[in-house]
Homo-oligomer: 237 residues x 2
Amino acid sequence: MNCTLSFLDMYNKQIFSNKTGMMPMKRKCPLIEFKSRKGVDNKLKIVFEFDLMRHDWNNTYDPLRNDLARLQADGTNSDVVLKTPTREFKAHKLILSCRSPVFAAMFNHDTREQNENVVQIMDISDDVLEQLLAFIYTDLVPRLHEMTIDLLIVADKYDIKALKSRCESCIFDTVTIQNATELLLTADRANATKLRTNIKQFIIRRRGEFIRSNDYQELRRSHPELILEIFEQPTND
Amino acid sequence: MNCTLSFLDMYNKQIFSNKTGMMPMKRKCPLIEFKSRKGVDNKLKIVFEFDLMRHDWNNTYDPLRNDLARLQADGTNSDVVLKTPTREFKAHKLILSCRSPVFAAMFNHDTREQNENVVQIMDISDDVLEQLLAFIYTDLVPRLHEMTIDLLIVADKYDIKALKSRCESCIFDTVTIQNATELLLTADRANATKLRTNIKQFIIRRRGEFIRSNDYQELRRSHPELILEIFEQPTND
């Protein structure tokens, strides 16, 4: 967060402004300087302006993330390769294990992957795997919004709870009555219980609209138990 | 950042308040509900309250940091031990190398440390080493303020620029005319050029006070070239 401190005089004229950075400058208090210079002794407005720095997942000022991103990009000391049908990604067993219980189990037992230092990955596109690795090394997922559902499924597969939760939150932001049932089925498929609960709450709050929607009759036929489950739950309005 | 949204009526009475979390709740706009319920059509005050979450280095909501902190605490898959006269710290060559060029050089060559998987550390106290490792694994230094100068020297030794910069900034916050020369010599010893420059600027802005201070005569005798260097530099007031 950056902060600008300004002093305004009684006419709202700015008499001092200072943008503080990470390392504060030591200097005489500007207020005292002003008073002794101009002799104004009341009606001084002190204004703090804050530049809010969102807790931005793509914020790059972060030495640990930078170092790990570099480690991944360079592949220095890499000891395993993730192989898709079209690409190879160098990686580090230590980092993969530390971030995913599924990788940990794979590399801590006498598996083919552990012995051959190769993990064959046939069910994840290169783009999605790239984002998965970005998250594993840095907590950042630059293209999260482009492929949230794929990432949710991958996060579930490798049991990476933090990524899963991020995807769930991101998907819930896009829920409408039109896509609610589709997303509910996706949540089911990815064992995304938090997302599932939230979508059900969303639907029940807009029950009338939901029943009149295009998908409803189809869903009623294909998943009657799901409809019942939605209707049975308490509302929290 | 948490945000509370409140609506107040013309008498400043709160008629609605909602604290939004990470996952926004989808619900009808409360303003519309209020208007249709009470028929008030003007003098509505909308208040946003922000809970600022400082970009806090000790903030623990951070999956990557949590996972790496756990890795360090458990010593899982540890492949090297840092040995002081009184304690042993399990660590990982990959993480140490990725964070410090000095460790990287040590483990990427045919050194005794690389072959024996032990690094003997005789010149760093257990407490300081513990904080150094905390930084290496998580970017966090919980006890930074207690041992800033020791950490600055260690950060210089292992060439960890981000930690060094954090220490420099933290030390500069404590500069006074009384301790300025001592801290300047510390900055010299730790090759802390940014801190050095800032302290010199600080002294030159308060030149009169500095010359009258207790240490001045002593410093003039022991480090005349340093005094000249300070006096020769341009001021930026």
